[in-house]
Structures are given as C-alpha cells and as structure tokens.
C-alpha cells in the first residue's frame, strides 16, 4: 500500500512535469518528420493514445481451437464471444498487416506444448479454481507487455514524461508504470514481480524498455483477442524488450520482443500501432471494487457439480 502511494506521488510529480513540458518545441527535418522534444531534450511521446486495431494477434491456423479460446466449449455457440479477434471498435479500418505478431514471419507464437496444455486445462476448468482465471479476470494485471495487447475497450494509454522518467497510465484495470530512463541495473534477482522490473533508455528517438525479474504467476496474454496465446504462462526467465517510436504526429510504433525459453521455443515479436487520441478521455477502471465474476463463476461451477448437465 505504501508503495502504491509512492507510485501515485511519482505519477502526480510526472503529471506536473508533463504539464510544464506542454510548450515543448516541435521540429521537422527536411527529409522527414522528427518527434518534438521535451524541454530536457527527450523525444516527446506524451499524450493519450489508443490501440484499437483490426489486425488479428496471430495469423489464424485451421488447427486453432477458436472455440476454446473464445469460450464456446459446450458447442452452444455461447462462450465469451464469437471467435473473433477484431478490436477496432472505432468504425475506422485499422489493419496494418495480417497479424500483430511480426516475428516469426509466419505470425505464430512458438509456444512449447506443455504451456499450451496448461492453458487448455485452465480454460476448461475455469469454474473450478480462482487460479484458473487469468490475472486480468482476477483484477491483478494484464501484464507487461500484455497490457498493451488490444482488447477492444478500456483502450486508452496516457504517457507522461519528466526528467529521467517515463510514466504510462493504462486505462484498462487502472495500471501505471513508472519507467526510469537511466539504464540502471535491474533490481536483485531475488525480487520477483508480476510485471517485472522495467528499465528504460533512449536509443535515438526510440524509448527502449528492458523488463526482467518476473514472477511465474502471470500470463503473457490475458484476453481472448490474443487467441491461442491467452492464458499462456510466464516463467521467471521471461525477458521482454519494448520499443516505443513516435513515427509521426499521431502514431507511436510499439514493439515488444518476448523471450522465455521455458515457455517458447524462440523469441517472438509483436508490433502494435498506438494512435494519438487527444479527445479520448481515460476513465477510472477500479477493477477490484466489484469483481463479482470470480465468485459467481466459482458458484456456477459448484452448482454444476451438484446438478451436472
């Protein structure tokens, strides 16, 4: 709780610093667009951004059990929703490629069989135990980088910058990251975190964030739009490198390279455009204030055990 208050204080400080940065200069080079700078010279990523997209997370494969990922496992057509993965609810056509997974080139995440088996077991037995729910359903976190994987609502992200720090406020389940940009070492290996330890640096105009020190309790992805990857576990060996590059006034190209040799056969990379939405209002999403879905789902499971269908 104390840490949370400290985080809030830092966020407020960053917000104040950000407001001081509003007058930052904007410049364009002769041969192309260059990002504006904050007064202390950082590339300016600040603003409210959304990640709506019409691009599927993975390239679909006919062997995919879309019903499983979407919740329709009793054949009634009534799962979590249609086996769709479009999360562009804006009416625009926001598709840039055949999948958000850009590496490997086939657009498929190289998941080890045991991890898929664990995911399938959890999804099939979701009513049996709270631990079978993803951390998102439990209102803990959507993860890093999973918190930036599109889900179709609660899609706002606010980036704030102050000297030596970048803060990202996630609308969905009300998360905030405070990222130092001084390339400091990661925290000690004994410290394990749901979202890992984020350490940033600037590589030219790109914010590069290295994340390590994960615990092994989370999921690399939590929502159905991530298809086959949803509820795939993360190990303590998970290592993620994020890159935020503002490529024009209204677009940040976001990329995350994910490696976890205990879970995946090779590193993989996902690329997601973030769209500047100055008029988008980020609402509070205090996920834990009334998360009745968990007790109600477990209660449904108990009822089914008493009265099997």
């Amino acid at each position: 709780m104390r840490a949370r208050h400290r985080g809030a204080a830092v966020a407020i400080a960053l917000a104040l610093a950000a407001s001081a940065c509003q007058g930052a200069s904007t410049g364009a080079s002769a041969d192309g667009w260059t990002p504006p700078r904050t007064p202390d010279g950082q590339p300016d990523l600040q603003g409210v951004w959304t990640n709506y997209t019409a691009t599927p997370f993975e390239v679909p494969d006919e062997r995919d059990d879309l019903a499983l990922y979407s919740g329709d496992t009793d054949g009634t057509g009534r799962g979590t929703g249609p086996a769709a993965f479009l999360t562009d609810t804006t009416g625009r056509t926001l598709a840039k490629g055949r999948s958000l997974v850009v590496d490997p080139p086939n657009g498929r995440v190289p998941i080890l069989p045991w991890a898929e088996e664990q995911r399938t077991f959890k999804l099939l037995h979701i009513q049996d135990h709270w631990e079978h729910h993803t951390p998102w359903e439990r209102c803990i976190t959507r993860g890093v980088p999973g918190g930036i994987f599109p889900t179709g609502y609660g899609s706002g992200y606010q980036i704030l910058q102050g000297p030596g720090y970048v803060a990202i406020v996630y609308e969905m389940i009300h998360e905030a990251r405070i990222i130092p940009t001084d390339s400091r070492p990661h925290v000690g290996s004994g410290i394990r975190l749901w979202n890992g330890d984020s350490v940033g640096r600037w590589d030219g105009d790109t914010l590069v964030v290295d994340i390590a020190n994960y615990n092994d309790k989370g999921s690399i992805a939590t929502n159905a739009a991530t298809q086959r990857v949803r509820s795939i576990p993360q190990s303590q060996d998970l290592h993620v490198v994020e890159r935020f590059t503002r490529v024009d006034e209204n677009t940040i190209d976001y990329e995350a390279t994910i490696e976890d040799p205990k879970v995946f056969t090779a590193p993989w990379r996902v690329a997601i455009p973030l769209h500047r939405e100055p008029d988008y209002r980020i609402f509070e999403y205090a996920c834990h204030e009334g998360n009745l879905a968990i007790p109600n789902t477990l209660s449904a499971g108990r009822a089914l055990r008493v009265r099997p269908r």
């Binding site: 009634t76 979590t80 769709a84 939590t222 209660s299 449904a300 055990r305």
Partner: protein, 136 residues
Amino acid sequence: MRTTLVIAAAGLAVLAGGAPAVAHHSFAAEFDGTKPVTLTGTVTKMDWINPHAWLSIDVKGPDGKVVSWMVEGGAPNALLRRGWNKSSVPAGMVVTVQGYRARDGSNRANGRDVTLPDGKKLFIGSPGTGAPGEGR
C-alpha cells in the same frame, strides 16, 4: 462427469452491428444462454462499479412476493461511452430487463435490453460475450 465446459475470458468481438466488444469475463462461465429471463421491477440502485456495473431491481411475483434481482451490465466506462449516465435508471423507476439467468440458480442475470417507462430501450450488456441473439 461434467459435460458442460465453460470458459471465462476477456470478451471481444466486433459484431455486424458495430457495437463495441466488451467483457471482462465470460458469459458462459457464469450465465446460462438457454435460460432467458424477463424481469419487470422497480430499480433499487445502480452500482457503477468495475469491472461490471450491476443494476438491482425488486420484482413482484404472481404471488405478490417481492424478490430482489441483480443484473450484470457492461463496464462503467463502456456504458458511459454508450450514452448511459447516472440518471439513466434512477431508484424508483420501473423497468423491464431482458437477460439470462445465472448458472448457479441465484437471482442474478446477465442483462441485455433495459426498457424504460417511456418505451425507450437501453442496452446494458457487454456485446461480444456470446449471449444468444446479441446481434447488436
């Protein structure tokens, strides 16, 4: 052996009607799509809570007995973006709610349309949950 397998998930879908696809958890894990219910009753409160709003109504049965029901809605931010506000369904208003019953048999339902006294319909649900007939 249980044959009904249900999945919780973060719902999403873009349906033909173009409504936002929203759901923090699954329809099927908690509610039964084969058990539609229509409830007419008096609003006692609307909880604007996350991750899903809940509408409470008192429903008078044929025997005159009043039964309290809880109706699950979409996320508050999704309802706000859809046009709902604090005064959409004030306490005391008589509304008719269409929805689907909870699998555990309790007096809870997943809400879909809410019909107001003037006949106006408000969609309270989470499109993309896979609830039957949600072509909106």
